[in-house]
């Protein structure tokens, strides 16, 4: 479903949302670093979960994506 390198792109419509999210990740370095640090911490400890830091990351990306997303839909 992810073949967006076709010659004619009226075969499969490609959603812009994943690309927007990736672009917005560049503005959330602190949150991404915190999450990765948490991942390493729990890998060492063997227990625990990183959901809160994951939420921080997602919330940061959302703040960037949400105002822009509907420009790409009717």
């Amino acid at each position: 479903m992810e073949d967006d390198d076709d010659d004619d792109d009226d075969d499969e419509p490609v959603d812009v949302l994943p690309k927007l999210r990736e672009e917005c990740m560049s503005g959330c370095k602190k949150e991404i670093d915190n999450y990765k640090a948490c991942e390493e911490r729990i890998a060492e400890k063997g227990h625990g979960d990183c959901e809160s830091w994951y939420f921080d990351q997602l919330a940061c990306v959302d703040k960037c994506v949400v105002p822009k997303l509907f420009e790409y839909t009717k």
Partner: protein, 271 residues
Amino acid sequence: MLGSRQALHRVALGSASAASLAFLSTTLLSKSSDDHIPSLGYTWTHTGFLDAFDAKAVRRGYQVYKEVCATCHSLEKIHFRELQGVTHSSKELIEMASEIDVVDGPNDEGEMFERPGKLSDPLPKPYANEEAGRAANGGALPPDLSLMAKARHGGVDYIFALLTGYCEAPAGKVMLPGLYYNPYFAGGAIAMPPPLQDGQVTYPDGTEATTSQMARDVSVFLNWAAEPEHDERKLQGFKYLTVLGLTLAVTGYYKRFRWSTLKTRKISYVN
């Protein structure tokens, strides 16, 4: 006067507490403390004080509901007749209703019978009852969506976020089998698999059916389904508030005018 031994104690205590408090540095603390993330406000065209639903979106949304969601989710409170003038014309709806079979009765012999649907019938339910719905979905009943836009914090924003929000579970989160991770869903583990894929539906008006587009349309449709009075409500609200506002101004002026005699009265006591 502190003795040198007491001073040493104090220094040791100070550095120990500084070290133990290091875990409170901002890079380690997370800001989120809930079991889901809130959905932010998308730039809908119908959320303003004087904005009506995008009729084209409601129509496309009905198509998405019917082709994708109606397999599992009922929309019991909506009847075919309520779609008249909103998504389809009466003629189209009479035809659409007649395509389904509805159990009616009892007839004069006391038997239930099947007949083609009419405008007055509710939209067809995917499962006959709750038990059938649970049995077909691993114990989790797909909820009726008639009022979902009003029944969840975030409303239409929540529905859109949920539909487009599926992602990988964070490290360390234990996911039971059969559940999918969605950070907008309370608890994070939802029984519904991601329902939308690019190109799943073909819109007759040529709109590109991307996941975001379908999610947007079905969210607007579900918002209409929960608040079919929406457009009329806002129109009447505007009219009434304007008229009452003017009335307030006129009445207020008249009251102040009449009371001015008393309010500017001076009383003096003479012995």
